[in-house]
Each structure stands twice: as structure tokens, then as C-alpha cells.
């Protein structure tokens, strides 16, 4: 699809707005519908669209496999780390109130961090799955 101008232009125009929408869904989860899982999938979709149009190698140049794996790990670590941080501050595991001391801001901060961890893991796992499936096929066809 790399040589078709329609696909190239549409992918280039859509790439940034899709990620923008994903970030909105990610960080607006406490107020509207959305959260880490949906946002992660939406952001992964932007990168998959890029890889579909410009080729898997171009997609892998933006996020190499090693970075991708570290993103997967980092997401889970952020989530678990928030839990450990709340315990260090004297609260229960994943009870966000002690993070700042007040219920309102503590819960907001905790949910924001936790959802960010979820989003990071979901984005990178979806991307890794796509590249694992599509990459293996491309290898075999060559």
C-alpha cells in the first residue's frame, strides 16, 4: 500500500488526530467514558495504521522491538509501583488517598497514574501482537 497516494495521505492526516483522541480518552477517564484499556487500543491502532500503509519496517523504526518490550514492562511496573508507593505512604495497597493526603487529589493522581500504566501496557502489547503476527507472515512470504 506504500505506493498508493490515497493511503499515504490519509494515513499521514489521520495519524496525529488518532493519537490525540487516544490521549484524550486516556486522561479524561475520570470524567467521561474511557480509560487506559480503550486509549491503549486507540493509540495502538494509529501505529498499526502507520505500519500497514508504510510497511512493518517503517513501523518498527518508530518503536523498535526492544523499546516495545520495555514499554510493556514499564506499564505493569507503574501500576504496581503506585500500589507500593501507597503502602510506603502508610496506606493500603492501591488505596490512593495517602498519595497526596487528601481524598480528592489523591484519588485523581492515583487513578491517572494507574490508567497510564494500563494504557502503556495495552498499547505496547497490541503493537507487539500485530508485529509478531504480521511480521512472521512477511518473513515466510519472502
Amino acid at each position: 500500500m506504500k505506493n498508493n497516494p490515497v493511503f499515504r495521505v490519509v494515513a499521514k492526516i489521520l495519524f496525529a488526530p488518532i493519537i490525540m483522541f487516544g490521549l484524550y480518552v486516556q486522561f479524561h477517564g475520570d470524567f467521561g467514558p474511557g480509560g487506559g484499556f480503550q486509549a491503549g487500543v486507540i493509540i495502538a491502532a494509529a501505529f498499526i495504521l502507520h505500519a500497514l500503509v508504510f510497511g512493518l519496517d517503517a513501523g518498527r523504526r518508530i518503536i523498535p522491538l526492544s523499546v516495545n518490550i520495555w514499554m510493556m514492562v514499564l506499564g505493569v511496573l507503574i501500576y504496581g509501583g503506585v500500589g507500593v508507593a501507597t503502602m510506603m505512604k502508610g496506606g493500603l495497597f492501591l488505596d490512593y488517598t495517602p498519595l497526596t493526603g487528601s481524598v480528592g487529589s489523591g484519588q485523581h493522581l492515583g487513578i491517572l497514574l494507574v490508567e497510564f500504566g494500563v494504557g502503556l501496557t495495552v498499547t505496547s502489547v497490541m503493537l507487539a501482537l500485530f508485529h509478531a503476527f504480521a511480521g512472521f507472515v512477511e518473513e515466510r512470504r519472502k
Binding site: 490508567e115 494500563v118 502489547v125 518473513e139
Partner: protein
């Protein structure tokens, strides 16, 4: 009344798509129709005021799953293997299981019944507290991240483990192939056999 009409239309569409999925042998068409199935379910969830669930269903079920299935389809033949004779025992099991499920549906509380057990347990506390005590308007998010944070941690780890498993299985194989072809091109004697297990171990641990 309008909601009921829309519900009946969407459910009929759902059944129609399900029947078409069962009757179609071409896997490409099956994948596209399962995407349509997810999108129809998302519309039903919107009609039930479950916007968060609808959002997830549309993004994951209709979006990413379809793409991943299409990417995975290249591993398998394009058509389902035709099976001629129908199994009588399987049909019997299906009918019995279906009748049991229908019986269970009759026992369910009516839709939207406030006295139903599910609406009496912890849900009233979540609804009362989420906005006033935790200062977060979206109850779904507080249930997901605050009240049930441990469950969501488990879900995230499940996603992580699934990704890791696929990477170890498929990325490892890919790298072995690449190494093999590379060594074939260079045609160093004895290298393909010795390179393969090493590279697989490397692909698994990377």
C-alpha cells in the same frame, strides 16, 4: 418504546450475523462479520446506557481484534474445512444446553429491577460515594481503578503475559528464520544448525 424497537432490531441483526458466521466457510468473510457483530453489540450497549462498555467493545472487539485476526489469518487456509455428516450427539447437547439457558433466563430478575440482588450488594455504595466522597464523577472509573484496583492490576498483568507469550512463540521463530536465511546466504558450513537454537533462546529472553 423507541429503545425497545431499536433493541429488537439490533438483536435481530446480531442473530442474523451469528447465523451467517456459522454458515460461511470463507474465513476472511467470517472475520469481517465478527467485527460487525462486535459493532452491533456496541450499539446495544449504548442503547443500555453502558457507554464505557460500548466504547471498549467498539475499540477492542470491532477494531483491534479484527486487525489481529486478519494478520493471523495468513497462517491458516482461506477456507474452513468442509465437514459433511452432522453429529447427532452434538446436536442433542446443543439443544439441551440451550433449553437449560432458556430456563435460567426465565429465573433472572426483570431488566432494570431495583430489587435485584446485583443492585443491592455494593453498587449502592459505589453510586453514593463515587461523586461525593472520592470526587470522581465517572463511577465506572472509580470501580475499575479505586474500588477494584487489584482486579485491574490482574487484568493488566494478563494482557502483559499474553503479549509476552506471543512474543516468545512468534518473534523467536521469526528470528530463527532470519538467522537461517542469513546463514544460507553467507553459506558458512555448519552454521545454520548451530545458529538456530542459540537465536531461539535469544529471541525468547529478549
Amino acid at each position: 418504546m423507541t429503545a425497545l424497537v431499536i433493541d429488537i432490531f439490533l438483536l435481530a441483526l446480531l442473530v442474523l450475523i451469528a447465523v451467517m458466521v456459522v454458515r460461511t466457510a470463507r474465513l476472511f468473510a467470517v472475520i469481517v462479520m465478527s467485527g460487525a457483530y462486535s459493532l452491533t453489540s456496541a450499539a446495544i450497549f449504548v442503547n443500555l446506557d453502558a457507554v464505557d462498555v460500548a466504547f471498549t467493545e467498539a475499540a477492542v472487539g470491532a477494531g483491534i481484534s479484527t486487525v489481529l485476526f486478519l494478520a493471523a489469518m495468513a497462517y491458516v487456509p482461506a477456507d474452513e474445512k468442509p465437514r459433511g455428516n452432522h453429529n447427532l450427539v452434538a446436536a442433542l447437547v446443543c439443544v439441551i444446553a440451550g433449553m437449560l439457558l432458556l430456563g435460567a433466563v426465565i429465573e433472572l430478575p426483570t431488566f432494570g429491577d431495583i430489587a435485584a440482588p446485583v443492585h443491592q450488594h455494593v453498587a449502592p455504595r459505589y453510586i453514593a460515594e463515587s461523586g461525593s466522597a472520592l470526587h470522581i464523577p465517572n463511577i465506572v472509573t472509580t470501580v475499575l481503578a479505586s474500588y477494584r484496583g487489584f482486579d485491574t492490576l490482574g487484568e493488566t498483568i494478563v494482557v502483559f503475559t499474553a503479549g509476552l507469550g506471543v512474543l516468545m512463540l512468534l518473534a523467536g521463530i521469526t528470528r530463527t528464520h532470519k538467522m537461517k536465511r542469513h546463514s544460507d546466504k553467507v553459506s558458512r558450513p555448519g552454521s545454520p544448525k548451530s545458529a538456530a537454537p542459540k537465536s531461539r533462546a535469544k529471541g525468547g529472553s529478549a
